[in-house]
Amino acid sequence: MSKQYKLIRCRINGKEREAMIDVRASLTDLLRNDFRLTSVKKGCEVGECGACNVLINGECFNSCIYLAIWADGKDILTLEGLEGPDGELSDIQQAFIDEAAVQCGFCTPGAIMSAVEILNEGRELSDEEIRIRMSGHLCRCTGYENIFRAVKKTMLARLAAAEKNK
């Protein structure tokens, strides 16, 4: 049986992209191999660790268990898409640095992307809600403590900034 391909068009990190892809590919394969977006990590390949998490149309998905063909027409955001036009860090990336929330760094991209989904809601979450929303990421280095601090700090800073601009 000959291999089956599909042409997909999607937005990746703000840019319109096209790719002819093997229908057997996962979104992780597409992002890592075709677009060299290597922040998308493989930790389990079955949706249990969260290292490959990306945003699709604003929602978090484990790209390892998401077929690449489904990306057709979608808006995809990976960690590489967070920096500003001149390479400046986003607030949540800076918070991960400042709160020492980064150790080996392997779960970091996925965890930051879940934080982005939360922060984009623009509302104040309780500590428990933050924990629930971040609970799709396994981390063996940090005990989650400093990741929690980074997310909460950024949320409060954004809310304070929004309040000021009212």
């Binding site: 389990c44 079955v46 249990e48 640095i97 929330a101 080996c104 392997f106 989650y144 400093n146």
Partner: protein, 765 residues
Amino acid sequence: MYAGQSVKRVDAFDKVTGRTKYTDDLCDRKAYIARVLHSTIANGKVLRIDTSEAEKVPGVVKIVTCFDLKEKHYYPTAGHPWSTDPSHQDVADRLMLTERVRFYGDDIAAVVAEDEVAAAQALHLIRVDYEEYPFVLDVQKAMEDGAPQLHEAYPNNILKHTQIRLGDYEKAIQEPGLIKVEGWYETPVVQHCHIENFICYAEMEGNRITVVSSTQIPHIVRRVVGQALGIEWGRVRIVKPYLGGGFGNKQDILYEPLCAWLSMLTGGHLVKLDVPREETFVCTRTRHSIRNHIISWVRPDGTYAARKLEAFSDQGAYASHGHSICAKGAGAFPQLYPCKNVEVDAYTVFTNKSVAGAMRGYGIPQAMWAVESHTEDVVAALGDDPLAFRRRNLMPKGYVDGFSKNELYEDSFNQCLDKAMAAIDYERKYKEYQNQTGDVRRGIGMAVFWYNTAVWPISLESSSCRMVLNQDGSFQLQVAETEIGQGADTAFAQMAADVVGVPLEKVHVVSCQDTDITPFGTGAYASRQTYVAGFSIRQTGLLLKERILDYAHELTRMPVFNLDIKNGNIVRITDGRVLMSLGELATQALYSLSDSRHITAESTYQIKSNAYSFGCTIAEVEVDIPMCKTKLLNVVNCHDAGKLINPALAEAQVHGGMSMGIGFGLSEKLIYDEKTGRPLNNNLLDYKLSTFLDHPRLMAEFVQNPEPTSAFGTKSLGEPPACSVAPAIRNAIYHATGVGVNNAPADAHNLFRAFTQAGLIHDER
């Protein structure tokens, strides 16, 4: 001074932007994909392997089986320094592929294919015939006469048995009025669960083989790849990029030799061996399950008359780090609670389980589970107070160990306990939670831990460092101690900047290590990176400084002893005048027509010291008895790790260790099917690593007594945070319910059994 400051990690920017390259990120896409076929029996012999169907899969490049291994070079896998004395060498019991299989998951064949689907399809089509032998999973049953034997050279499967005898135990227990307290305490098989699985890739250049590997120990891997392939070690080059965690699993030679061999068999083609999570659980390394039997003879005044420990350490199928782990725990036993009369017997025993190796804590988490659980039982038997008993009996200030010459220079235990108690409001809660009734009860418990830094005097400790000055006055820093996520590179940069006298950003740490380039050293283990690298960084930094000032003298004609380097400038000490920048000097030095010099420094420091690193955990729990559930409400660790080079990173490391301790105490265990020896929960769903929702806020406290043996006053912190958390939780549950769970983890299954036995829950029918 940068040492002591919470500067940002030198690698943090790249890690939050996705720039950091881990092994898989570096591998070219042309790589062939290798997969390993593992045995599906726990003990026996491979009779035949039929690869004919598998060979037909389009895209399959090569299939090799254990029968293709013509020259059998047995090799050791422990990430220990080599010993030139054969009697001290690690046990060489592994082959890249084996006919004689000793655990469910042993490596018997490998497929090389053009892509992962072809490799997976081929694996499924290989047919294997075995001759099955009976197998044994229980450590003490494996020691019985007539038990299935794993290795001929080790009768009764005992890899090693060591003893400690102090005083006269038998005589001491005759003392009238003694109270005997006895218990069995067991820890399960657990796994490291670094989020990056083990991965490596290999290719040939000329007649040399390069292996890029997610390893903690590149120079050791180089030696073992040479040993396993039977080639000169200089033909092997190991490259270590950033690691997605290691925790000791990658302090072992895993699949680097096999991957190198597969590349050689395919004409030196690039071959990638990316181990799936399920195989990482089973086929890399685990933490030794240790069963401990402790007997204490205590006087009514709450002091020890005699103590005895028997430890049975489950090695799994191959020797790996072997007895070192059990021996470390056994060695801690007499020291933690000094007593004149002590007997210790430690056994490391082969069973048909996954191979146990190094894991964060190296035997001490198991030993502390046993000792600190038992301490609580002793306290209960005496009607004593947990805190008072420990204060009375713990290793006192001034204690010196005869073997390591380690000395407890300060009253670390009491200082740590005081600080932890204050942080968690221990005394109030301890009183409040006494004698509760009802379904939901709270408790608070403590545990201490013993640890040391590095492995001296057991084996070689040396650290090498190289500094290479650039034209702009910055320099590259290379050491063989490895960044594996813990933040070592940042601490190294801080120390180097201080010694040489430059701003932190002028130190460029070369994080990616390459055995062709990186100075020799044995890598990341034994919580020794900051301690051992500190010596060579300090020595080499001073050497570099001497060469810089020597050249400064040539340029300025000022006497060297009146010169210093401060903040990246050559400064005259007498009046503080800046004579020139280090950049100006370095540019001059490189391009001078009269006296050109490439200013570099390199040196090796042999470390002949070690340092105690002690601390404690206090945990507060709420136990829902009918639900058999424990909720950890608060937990604090306090460490005396000497002077902290980077307090924020130190705190973060403690959090991570605590997290591992929480899993060890409450949820983690790798389980095996009694009927087949097959591992049952080797994935991240069924193996219960704690999640964001299983943790309370983690508190980390420090007592910073400068360590006098250390180049920067620092000592170990990597492993210690994982050592006392689990028994503190166990003791908190005991405080809440009066039920001691002696088999870790204190998960719902074990609590159900324990509560049923204690009559706290009843059959509802």
